[in-house]
Symmetry: C2
Subunit: 391 residues, 2 copies
């Protein structure tokens, strides 16, 4: 397997765009990524597209990537459409990375896209697929994370204020992010007094949905040379895994799959958690970010609350997490999120993040958890990117 | 890229199974494939699952492969869920083949599954995704193929009886296939007098839908050695492409994408059309098989009708096509078909096809066309398998 490079990224604003379609969102991000890479659409050799619920929500299940490719003039190439819950974009990225690393293709376009507003399947719930019975009786993602929060507080003494601290930190980070849905600063007290969703979690502890798209161009060294481009970010690890979440360990405070996938990613990239300069972590709920700190090895089990208190994961800290505001503020159009994290990291590693730039960022990590954590069919993804002098 | 081998296959009966779920169908085929390969489920290192409309029809869009893997005891591995219309299974096979050829994984399980009866999304049309407007005004797949038939008859003098001959040949071939939905022989006159669907095509010119699943195990040479198995079928080409169908050439009698994908597959396998001993071809409609003969190079453009008349594509002929009855008689549960073709070919290449065995079959080709041919976002897949003395 050869080395692979991130040559360009694209990202739409996230929000509720009544007039946008999957194709219009996807093509905007895709064109931006292609231009950012300095190539033409016709030079793309394959497309991988992640979109978790385009079928159920938009009645367009099979041909999303084909449609986007066709609209920007890419024809005749292999197109893969990935469906893996919230991790769909990360799976598409992983697949494209394998295809480029293997030499099967030199230039891959990855697109993540989702349209969750104005959905066609009226009345259909937004909760994860295939768990309809559980959803009907109230076991929705917010309920699951609420129980995880209760358990984390009970087992480790994590406080409600620490959990709220994630929401406050990420909102502060989102302030300069014009792609984010929510940017006005909030206080701990505002988080605590927001309408309750599932105790102890309130409205400001939960990410919004939305519409949006993201894209990335992956090239091999041969591809870069042939195209005459010099990408500066190497993809040193892209690992996904599906299966067990918390079933076996019977513990709500940790996700075994995140641990095993991140360990494989660290090993593949030859780095350790403390080497990471900036991270995008799946903060679908505030408590999730605390749990992920621990599973990703940013701190010991049970110390996630203290890590928030220490300021280490805020801008200016040891390892800024979600420096663009995370899912909590950017919003979480399912399939778009995994590649949006990569785009955010790429800006950091190229020193393009403006007010939210992490000084000297060289190693970036993106983490996503897809599927309904309480059940056994889910997907985790961890990507590690490293800034190089030149590809 | 290393060599890859087909180590085992599995196939359920196709039909309308009210009590079956996606998971129950998929796990049956998957377990059969794993056992056929002589391995344990826990030795599988990745899963690729093709299912075109599980979301729209069964309200289960993202986690089909994860669910099937979990139910047979495969945990923690990467799972890819592929959505590419009728070609979904072929795309999953292609992706798994790349992952194994690249050395990323040694042992991959491919599953194709679809449940089209008892669908959850009541009232939703079965026509291809994203082309709802065209469907509403009557431009459905049967209508498209009816126009293609009219054009083929007008341009090349192909007769209605030749087109009907495909249905008669494939029904005769299905007679010994216990997995097929339709097995009673039919006559040319019965095809001609069947209720008309879209002139000139009648009911017996159109494949039925249905429920079903198929599976395959792909291994590398290293994987086979480590597992202590000796697969005898090499995968010498697996090529997919998406994009243009007939838009550019403005010709209903040929699919440019099938031509380009099959040319790449022949080149990769180092063989020519006349080398193929047995083929599975996407006969969603009788006329389609005639068009595909020409696009795949089994005969010259316009000569598909004569090829049927010659008997060359019947059992005992020069290149038997759809020796198991094809989509017309097995049925076409979208995502299951691509891998079902591979399973049928594998039986032929291992001399396990009983009454429908093609004597001395060594080289097999599977072809699938996915998407709505009249539009520009579609997928073609061609796989070439070669029997070896030992893997």
């Amino acid at each position: 397997m050869g080395r692979t490079y991130l040559a360009g990224t694209g990202l739409t604003r996230f929000g509720k765009f009544a007039d946008a379609s999957l194709a219009s969102l996807g093509r905007s991000a895709a064109l931006e990524a292609v231009r950012d890479a300095g190539i033409e659409p016709q030079q793309v050799q394959m497309i991988a597209c992640g979109s978790a619920r385009s079928g159920i929500l938009q009645n367009h299940e099979s041909g999303v990537g084909q449609r986007i490719g066709w609209e920007i003039g890419i024809e005749g190439v292999p197109v893969y459409n990935e469906k893996a819950y919230c991790a769909s974009g990360a799976v598409a990225f992983n697949l494209a990375n394998i295809c480029v690393a293997s030499g099967e293709h030199d230039v891959a376009l990855v697109v993540g896209v989702e349209k969750m507003s104005g959905r066609d399947g009226k009345g259909r719930p937004l909760t994860s697929d295939g768990v309809m019975l559980e959803s009907e009786v109230g076991f929705t993602p917010p309920a699951y994370y609420a129980m995880a929060a209760q358990r984390h507080m009970s087992t480790y003494g994590t406080t409600r204020r620490q959990i709220a601290g994630v929401a406050v930190k990420n909102r502060r980070a989102a302030h300069s992010n014009t792609k984010a849905q929510y940017r006005e600063p909030i206080s701990i007290d505002e988080v605590l007094s927001a309408p309750q969703v599932a105790g102890p979690l309130g409205l400001l502890d939960c990410c919004p949905t939305g519409d949006g798209a993201s894209a990335a161009v992956i090239v091999s060294a041969e591809g870069a040379q042939r195209l005459g481009i010099s990408p500066t970010i190497e993809i040193t690890a892209s690992v996904i895994g599906s299966g067990l979440y918390c079933h076996e360990q019977r513990d709500l405070t940790s996700f075994a799959l995140d641990k095993s996938v991140s360990l494989r990613a660290y090993e593949r990239a030859g780095v350790a958690p403390h080497d990471i300069d900036v991270a995008e972590v799946h903060d679908s709920f505030s408590i999730a970010e605390i749990i992920h700190y621990e599973d990703l090895g940013f701190c010991q089990a049970g110390m996630g609350g203290s890590l928030i208190d220490s300021g280490a994961t805020a801008l200016g800290g040891q390892i800024p997490v979600n420096a663009g505001g995370g899912l909590l503020n950017r919003g979480h159009p399912l399939g778009a999120t995994g590649v949006a994290q990569i785009a955010e990291l790429a800006d950091q590693l190229r020193g393009r993040s403006g007010d939210r730039q992490v000084a000297g960022a060289r190693l970036g990590l993106a983490h996503i958890s897809g599927g309904f954590m309480g059940l056994d069919f889910a997907t985790s993804g961890v990507t590690i990117l490293e800034a190089r002098q030149s590809g």
